[in-house]
């Protein structure tokens, strides 16, 4: 699936922490996301690295529509 291929590459980041978290999530969890969650995940990937890491490590709270996916990312 082309969309997944694109997303896989966009999980390559400037911060090692995100490389580890996002690639793991992609392998373990992405398959089971519904369309809205996939959309939310894709949008999250457009965030700057530091903001995204702060979200995933719980240093700040996401906007409501990202909450579900961020919770999954936090759970690992």
């Amino acid at each position: 699936m082309r969309e997944l291929d694109r997303i896989r590459w966009r999980c390559r980041r400037g911060l090692l922490e995100l490389d580890l978290l996002l690639s793991g999530f992609l392998e373990r969890r992405f398959d089971r996301l519904d369309a809205a969650e996939r959309q939310a995940f894709t949008e999250l990937l457009d965030q700057p690295d530091n903001d995204l890491l702060d979200l995933v490590l719980g240093r700040c709270e996401p906007a409501p529509r990202y909450r579900a996916v961020v919770e999954m990312l936090r759970a690992g």
Binding site: D5, R6, W9, R12, G14, L16, D49, N50, L57
Partner: protein
């Protein structure tokens, strides 16, 4: 096969701090500039830099470039080129103020001047006492730097080619560099980007080690491309390690943990640093701690199921101290080490952090190689800056915050040199040789046609294991020699990798196979260079030759892919305008 060709004045490979600084110089001179990047530019690895950029602004305490120069030369353990170091330290204030004018949100003092924080190794009066020299933007200096330069480049009309991967250099018969071949990931198409000037700014290759703080994109592509095109790689035995990266993940655990009273244990629960550094114990300098850890592991006292890590204990500090004084550590440990440090120790190992060596350049940013009796003959049309280049300002060990400075000073300098060279050499492009794209296309064809080959991930894992075990932070002669044999075997296997997914668009498997080609060149260069250097200097620390040997080894290594051959060239011991700094024992 003839590929589509696009033509520019300058092609810059790399959209990190150094690439974007070079691009800005060129675009503002109205040249037609292309910047290629594997990832969106502001996601380059520069984003990871937190500490800051060094410049002797003297905003808090008296400071000047002579003292900065001394610290840098001493840090380099006298392998740094003193002309380049003078150039960098003298230019530091200028490039930092320029960045401020481009809009960089530096932390400020009440009066509006740039705030400066203290950082290890930054000293006044030639090593007498610490001086605040690091300019930062909160803990997001690299992030702010990338955003500032990206915006400035958009304004100056730099053309970005995002999610493009350069594959190989194009050189004319006489060696002149004429551009690169590159893969557009979205379409899978390969194209020729022809240029009067080609600038490499591809960052480091920290992913050659199993334990690395570097992001996955740091695969040393510029080094691989240069090596395949016959350009030697300089001083790659010198890698900076951080003592405490999370085992298996690489994520950094700040030194502050030991500062607050955390300490290291081996598998027997012994606080071994008491043996190696009876006074400073766990607070001894980075290299002493890393060396002790490596020795414990080598002698069979490592912890973990494979006996390959050390335990960092901090539960005795109590939950309150841990969350108050070490914010973030608990989340990092839980997320990346799967332990709660309030209860259990964090498994850590010395972790590769920064590449001091790279593509040999002078302080003008030109790539230089030995030819016709001159060890530093300019390769026409070819420039490099940033972590992929070896100027050499970091010598055998980098001073903290000097890397971001290196990106700014030598990114700009490379840009200025390109402008000058293009003005003096007329405006037309040279015609491309008939075999311009052969190298890249044959690598792609080999990969697509490979039958019963090995998985990229397996070969990559073996490379990282060999580097970690045989060429790590503390080096043992038997392991080095065996390592050379093993890494050459790995390099051969890298030539027989197979990918099952042959699709064209966003084929990450193909990209990773091509990246592995670059990683193995860097890995072989590092191990062969390290095995040959029979002394300890800066980050290159040998168990059998434990002293620096200025008589025989104050020289730069050059590794050639062709025959895995080594040559050496002299260190520049003469600065541009001041008296040379003579070598002294490096004690802190």
């Amino acid at each position: 096969m003839a590929l589509p060709v696009r033509t520019f004045d300058a092609v810059i490979v790399g959209g990190g701090g150094s690439g974007m600084r070079a691009a800005l110089e060129l675009a503002r001179a109205d040249l037609k500039v292309a910047v290629l990047s594997k990832v969106f530019p502001t996601r380059s690895h520069t984003v990871a830099a937190q500490g800051g950029v060094a410049a002797s602004l003297g905003n808090i305490d008296e400071d000047n470039w002579h003292w900065h120069m001394y610290d840098t030369i001493k840090g380099s353990d006298y392998l740094g080129d003193q002309d380049a170091i003078e150039f960098m330290c003298r230019k530091a204030n200028e490039v930092v103020y320029e960045l401020e004018h481009f809009g960089m949100p530096f932390d400020r003092l009440a009066g509006g001047k740039i705030y400066q924080r203290p950082f290890g190794g930054h000293m006044r009066e030639y090593g007498k006492s610490p001086v605040p020299r690091a300019c930062a933007a909160a803990d997001r200096t690299g992030h702010a730097l990338l955003h500032t330069l990206y915006q400035a480049n958009l304004k100056a009309r730099t053309q970005f080619f995002v999610e493009w991967m350069a594959l190989d250099l194009i050189r004319a018969q006489d060696g002149t560099v004429l551009g690169v071949t590159a893969l557009e990931m979205e379409t899978g198409e390969v194209m020729v980007l022809q240029a009067k000037a080609t600038v490499f700014a591809t960052g480091g290759a920290g992913r050659i080690f199993a334990a690395s703080t570097n992001a996955f994109i740091n695969t040393g592509d510029g080094l691989g491309m240069a090596a395949r095109a016959g350009i030697p790689l300089q001083d790659l035995e010198f890698w900076q390690f951080h003592p405490t990266g999370v085992a298996g993940a690489g994520v950094l655990i700040t030194e502050g943990v030991r500062g607050e009273g955390g300490y290291l244990l081996n598998k027997n629960g012994e606080r071994f640093m008491e043996r190696y550094a009876p006074n400073a114990k766990d607070l001894a300098s980075r290299d002493v701690v890393s060396r002790a850890m490596a020795t414990e592991i080598k002698e069979g006292r490592g912890a973990g199921k494979d006996g390959d890590c050390i335990l960092l204990k901090l539960d005795h500090l109590g939950e309150e101290v841990i969350s108050k004084r070490l914010p973030g550590i608990r989340e990092i440990a839980k997320t990346f080490a799967n332990v709660d440090p309030v209860k259990d120790p964090i498994p850590v190992v010395p972790t590769c952090h920064y590449q001091m060596g790279g593509i040999p350049t002078n302080y003008r940013g030109q790539v230089v190689v030995p030819a016709n009796g001159n060890p530093e003959t300019v390769v026409p049309g070819f420039y490099a800056a940033g972590e992929c280049a070896c100027v050499s300002v970091h010598g055998a060990n980098r001073l903290g915050c000097n890397s971001l400075l290196d990106l700014l000073v030598f990114g700009k300098s490379a840009g200025e040199t390109v402008i000058r060279d293009l003005r003096s050499e007329g405006k037309s492009h040279r015609s491309l040789p008939g075999d311009a794209s052969d190298l890249a296309l044959s690598r792609l064809a080999r990969l697509d046609g490979q039958k019963s080959g090995e998985r990229v991930a397996d070969v990559g894992a073996d490379m990282r294991r060999v580097m970690q075990l045989h060429c790590g932070v503390f080096r043992f002669p038997d392991l080095l020699t065996e390592g050379v044999r093993k890494i050459k075997e790995v390099a051969e296997r890298a030539g027989r990798t197979e990918i099952t997914d042959k699709s064209r668009t966003f084929n990450t498997a193909r990209v990773e196979a091509l990246e592995l080609d670059n990683l193995v060149e860097t890995a072989v260069a590092s191990l062969v260079s390290a095995d040959a250097r029979k002394e300890s200097r800066g980050s290159h620390d040998r168990a059998d030759f434990h002293q620096r040997d200025d008589v025989n080894w104050m020289k730069h290594t050059l590794w050639y892919k062709q025959g895995s051959r080594l040559e050496y060239k002299p260190v520049h011991r003469k600065p541009l305008t001041v008296e040379p700094f003579e070598p002294k024992a490096r004690v802190y």
